[in-house]
Subunit: 208 residues, 2 copies
């Protein structure tokens, strides 16, 4: 049976991605597989699926606001509605791949710190300076961080990664792939675990 | 603790509603609560949320086709992609409320028969004659059925129910409410059961 890492796709501005990120350690423990993190831009995916940001959708918007509050109670992951939401968050994911090149563990710590700062503490992570502060809190050089996120090749790399992710069928956050098998949404984590537990095959459990 | 029925909202043309309908007996057994069935028209809800039918959405459409196939394997509920999908299905839900007035149990049997005919056997339930056949298979008078679904007050009643359902915040199929607490989607059934099991309150399980 494959022991390849599970791929985890997320957008830093996505509440459901946030709740999923804080489940990753448990996913790794429960499945015996590691998880590979892939931040991407949800905006171009929403353009392709013609979806608006959740809060702008009648009926669904209010449902989601309530859902995030109860997911916080269920999971124990803290939750605040940030002052700006939705908002473009670019420096954070650009820097992620730069950090990841040298130290994947640090990159995950940093990603969780960004998420926690935004949706747990309401900090303005859409500002580069704030992201640099959070990076520094993780032991990353603040000045180098601010330089890196403005480099053209760093910006372009993140755009290219986003295009590839969407071309490969990812249209939401969180989105997981297990040897290519796709799972969209926070509420599919249990189904993904079950899939792995039974040897990555869909077993017909009962006939009707 | 409330023992009021769980409200189950669904559209006969919705694959996720179909899979949920065949979980209802298990939901009742697991929660000790009965389930009250409410077919409605998803079209007006999609108009409000500006959503297209799933198959017309790039990326999400192919994902869902795959998802329905695997949900069939997981749940044991049979699945075929009907020849016409999506398609307006009106006689079936109109008749549901008429049957339900006199015999709620028969109405549920009939609803499951319609769903099974459409998504399990690929029968053309968008045709009134086909629905009348299915009704007759459930022991309902075929001639009376065909008369009832064309009555103006029966048509209007179904429109009014749909408006009320959407005004009350329902925007997808399946959609459940437990004493008003909303659960959208087939993949929230477990969360709903957990909510009921812990006394209809969101307990903070672990702090981070």
């Amino acid at each position: 049976m494959s022991k390849d890492p599970i791929d985890f796709y997320f957008e830093f501005g996505s509440p459901y991605g946030y709740f999923a990120a804080f489940e990753v350690a448990k996913i790794e423990a429960d499945t015996g597989r590691s998880v590979r993190w892939h931040p991407f831009m949800l905006g171009p995916a929403f353009k392709k699926t013609e979806q608006k940001p959740l809060l702008q959708i009648p009926l669904k918007g209010p449902y989601c606001v309530h859902d995030w509050e109860r997911l916080s109670l269920i999971t124990g992951t803290p939750w605040v509605m940030p002052e700006k939401f939705p908002v473009g968050i670019l420096a954070a994911p650009r820097a992620f791949y730069w950090i990841n090149d040298n130290d994947p563990e640090l990159a995950k710590t940093y990603a969780l710190a960004i998420y926690k700062a935004y949706f747990g503490d309401g900090r303005p992570v859409w500002e580069e300076g704030e992201c640099a502060d959070i990076a520094a809190e993780c032991g990353i050089d603040r000045t180098e961080f601010l330089d890196v996120v403005q480099r053209e090749e760093v910006k372009q790399r993140f755009k290219d990664i986003t295009s590839t992710v969407i071309d490969d069928g990812v249209f939401g956050s969180p989105f997981f792939k297990v040897d290519g098998e796709p799972f969209w949404g926070f509420d599919r984590i249990d189904m993904m675990k079950q899939y792995i537990a039974q040897g990555c095959t869909w077993v017909q459990e009962n006939k009707r």
